[in-house]
């Protein structure tokens, strides 16, 4: 009897132990399978959401060219199909990388995409679309977090090799993984002339040309007319090969503390404010009045840059100064065709410079980073597409993660 009971107890304990062990083993397999499904779902959602953003122009269709808040989020250019994005809708996305800029004279904070000195894009927060609005419009608010990055495929790096006699500029064209050899480079070289008496407006001369890159994707361009390293200039280059187009730019200025900062004021009216840098960075005193002369260049279909005339009535020339009582200048962009606003400025007969502002994100191939930072998030799915923004080749990448709280890492 006792032996039978012991046998029963031992067998029961062994059986229960075995059952628990197997439940654990099966549970692990099932959990891994569920996680696989969750991850797979996030990856599919990522791909769908990216297409949803890129293949839909939003509501209203032309929200990128207005000041309104869209009721439907989408970045597609309403005048085209497929993966062609609106350069103006992209311009209205609040950048999540640049440090916001506060401009006391308007009392507004501006979304900042600045690509080195002299290349500004500042859009007021009141006109920019923020991340939570976009997430709500996409129907993922509270369920998924995302970051959308749109970066140019072609990088056109420009550097000064020799400052004068002659000025030598090196242009390097590379893709995401390879140099672009034998690419045609169309450039616009703008030199600033600071001649004239006190308070005179800066003048400028523009020169256009075409060159080809070598097998390493490089080309050296000389400007014999530049025989003084105090000459301020801007150099804008478009590189193109078999449908791939990239943009690069470079400036040299003689007044680096006092300069012009353009702020986009009204997208519907195409109005840009011209501010004195001291109003933003507080370098002064001493401060000095800056006179400026604005012009607008756009890329034509044959890849040449063309100056588009601006009327004086649009604020083409003016003067700005730092401090209370000195209003900012206002300039009106003459068109909705993407281009570059070039503003030459003059502090004195020897100090001046030039700054650039893209009108439409693509004209200077500015990148866009919109949304939350995925760093530290659990299981981030990513997907990429090649897109075109006004024919400039970009790569759109979406990083997506779940916010629903349950474990997504096995």
């Amino acid at each position: 009897m006792t032996g039978s009971t012991i046998d029963h107890l031992v067998s029961l304990m062994v059986f229960l132990g075995a059952i628990l062990l197997f439940i654990g083993l099966f549970n692990q397999t099932i959990q891994t399978a569920i996680l696989y499904q969750r991850h797979r779902f996030i990856a599919t959602k990522c791909s769908d959401l990216l297409d949803n953003m890129l293949l839909n122009p939003g509501i209203p269709l032309y929200w990128g060219k207005s000041n309104c808040t869209p009721t439907g989020f989408g970045l597609q250019d309403p005048e085209f199909m497929q993966y062609k994005l609106s350069p103006f809708s992209l311009m209205r996305l609040r950048s999540s990388t640049g440090e916001p800029v506060y401009y006391p004279k308007t009392g507004l904070t501006y979304s900042n995409i600045t690509m080195g000195f002299g290349n500004f894009l500042l859009v007021p927060y009141t006109k920019a679309i923020n991340y939570s609005t976009a997430a709500s419009l996409l129907g993922v608010n509270g369920t998924y977090g995302f970051q959308l990055t749109i970066t140019p495929i072609i990088t056109v790096s420009i550097s000064e090799v020799q400052p004068k006699n002659p000025l030598r500029i090196s242009v390097n064209v590379t893709g995401t993984g390879f140099p672009l050899s034998n690419a045609m480079v169309s450039y616009c070289f703008l030199t600033v002339s600071l001649t004239g008496g006190e308070g005179a407006y800066p003048a400028y001369t523009m020169k256009y040309g075409n060159v080809s890159t070598d097998e390493k994707g490089s080309v050296l361009i000389e400007f014999a007319e530049v025989n003084d390293d105090k000459v301020s200039y801007a150099f804008i280059a478009y590189a193109h090969l078999s449908g791939l187009i990239g943009v690069g730019y470079h400036e040299r200025v003689t007044s680096v503390k006092q300069y012009i900062i353009p702020f986009i004021d009204d997208l519907a009216e195409r109005r840009v404010l011209i501010a004195h840098s001291y109003d933003v960075h507080y370098f002064g005193p001493p401060n000095a009045e800056l006179s400026y002369n604005a012009t607008f260049v756009l890329l034509t279909e044959d890849f040449t840059l063309r100056e588009m005339p601006m009327e004086n009535s649009t604020g083409k020339v003016g003067k700005v100064n730092y401090g209370v009582g000195n209003p900012y200048g206002v300039v009106t962009i003459p068109t909705y065709n993407p281009g570059i606003l070039v503003i030459t400025y003059r502090k004195s007969a020897v100090e001046g410079g030039v700054i650039l502002m893209p009108w439409g994100m693509s004209s200077m191939a500015f990148p866009v980073t919109f949304g939350e930072d995925p760093l530290g998030k659990e299981w981030v799915a990513t997907d990429i597409r090649q897109v075109l923004v006004n024919n400039i080749a970009y790569q759109a990448k979406l990083a997506l993660w779940s916010l629903e709280g349950y474990q997504v890492i096995g």
Partner: protein, 450 residues
């Protein structure tokens, strides 16, 4: 003891079940859990490369052409470094039993595409295939939609130096007829008389039409109007009558160059008269004793347009004393890109009209074709579409498009002005072709990782 043996038997069975189920429940590799959508990436890459139809051109080139090397460079440049590719091109041959795909060329940067790959196909057409654009018709939604182009064989033109009105009319027809519901060439002054009397020529609506006068500073006059009443002040009264008709039918009258209504022309009735420059069949408007009487034509027209009850002889000078280089307005420059019509954006204006006509004749500028300028404190409009709108009213009752430029006329300016004003949309249609198509397949693979 038996029970323990039974339990071990059960454990063996469960273990076997676990092993067997684990054998079949194969978990995917990490790369398959959250894969990059290579199919979409391949498709968007092909679309990017074909942005200016470069890909379409390349795939039709011989296999030893340098364009293939460029294609390989851009493929390597635009794809992420961990993506390898194989691009294959097939010629599409249509046969009775379906389509046959014949391999023509392949380029790749790797021998094998790795463990996972995906592909997208893209059909391209030869550059010989025509790309169609279907324009929206002006007047399609709402009234009007008729374009009359004065092509009167029995009238002569002036200030259209180097051209004849008929050649200009033909060019205008080619440029503008796709945008209008009905385009009619008014072949003689008799037909002009018909539409002036609200009689249709081909069943078209006369109301809300656009009339382009291709005769420059001259305007054709039907024989029926070459008589007293209309001949007052050397046919300035006829210009007044035209203004009335433009208001009555809500026409848009287009003057392509120079000073509008400066001469009237009818080869038959004015066979012995000339415009003092040797062009017969033409009379200068205005009293002969007034050297500047020709300027009474536009004043008379505006009186008629403004529904003045009585015609008054008025030779007030409306133009500046000098020529000015003017630039196209922003709206028109934008339209140039949209419609693909590119006249020079700088033009010389010698016949700009003073802006005070706006208040004097209840006119409003519907479109500034050129930016205005000021001479001696007076603002001039070198090219504008003037809408006649009575005070306290919002209804347009007739319009005048006046391009006050110097000769020789660029007819593209007239076309782009009308298109800028009416803004018909362009619907770009997809192209397809048989026998001239090639299928491009881009297969992408991912290297590295597991």
């Amino acid at each position: 003891m038996m029970r323990t043996i039974e339990v071990f038997l059960v454990i063996i069975i469960i273990t076997a079940a676990f092993i067997i189920s684990s054998f079949y429940a194969v978990l995917p590799q990490p790369r398959q859990v959250s894969p990059l959508n290579l199919r979409r990436l391949a498709l968007t890459t092909l679309q990017t490369l074909d942005v200016d139809y470069d890909l379409s051109e390349t795939v039709f080139k011989p296999s030893n052409d340098t364009a293939w090397g460029e294609l390989q460079i851009v493929l390597s440049a635009c794809l992420p470094p961990n993506i390898v590719y194989n691009l294959s091109v097939y010629e599409v041959i249509s046969g009775s039993s379906g389509e046959l795909y014949k391999f023509t060329k392949s380029i790749s940067n790797v021998e094998s595409l790795g463990v996972s790959s995906d592909a997208s196909s893209y059909l391209v057409a030869s550059s010989n295939v025509t790309f169609h654009v279907t324009p929206e018709k002006i007047g399609q939604h709402g009234g009007g939609g008729t374009l009359y182009i004065l092509n009167c064989s029995d009238a002569n033109g002036w200030w259209i130096t180097g051209y004849i009105a008929q050649s200009l009319a033909e060019d205008l027809y080619k440029l503008l007829s796709p945008y209008f519901v009905k385009t009619i060439m008014v072949q003689n002054t008799e037909q002009l008389a018909q539409i002036l009397n609200n009689n249709t020529l081909q069943g078209e609506p006369v109301q809300n039409a656009v009339i382009i006068n291709t005769f420059g500073e001259a305007v054709p006059i039907p024989s029926a109007y070459c008589k007293s009443q209309f001949s007052t002040d050397n046919y300035a009264r006829y210009c007044y009558f035209l203004g009335q008709k433009v208001r009555l039918y809500n026409w848009t009258w287009v003057s392509i160059v120079g000073y509008p209504f400066y001469y009237v022309s009818n080869k038959q009735n004015f066979s012995s008269s000339q415009n003092t420059y040797g062009i017969y069949g033409m009379i200068r408007v205005g009293r002969p004793e007034h050297q500047d009487g020709g300027q009474s034509g536009i004043n008379a027209f505006l009186q008629g347009l403004d529904n003045r009850t009585q015609y008054t002889y008025d030779r007030t000078k409306l133009i500046p004393d000098k020529g000015v280089v003017v630039t196209l307005s922003r709206q028109v420059l934008e339209a140039c890109n949209y419609y693909g019509i590119y006249p020079s954006h700088n033009q010389t204006s010698t016949r700009a009209l003073k802006s005070f006509i706006l208040s004097d004749y209840n006119l409003k500028i519907g479109l500034s074709i050129f930016n205005n300028f000021t001479v001696s404190g007076t603002v001039y409009n070198p090219g504008s579409l003037y809408q006649h709108i009575f005070k306290n009213d919002n209804k347009i009752t007739g319009s005048l498009l006046a391009l006050g430029l110097t000769r020789t006329p660029d007819i593209r300016l007239t076309a782009i002005s009308l298109l800028s004003y009416y803004k018909p949309r362009l619907y770009r249609s997809e192209y397809n072709a048989t026998g001239t198509s090639r299928l491009v397949i881009l297969q992408l693979g991912q290297v590295g990782g597991i």
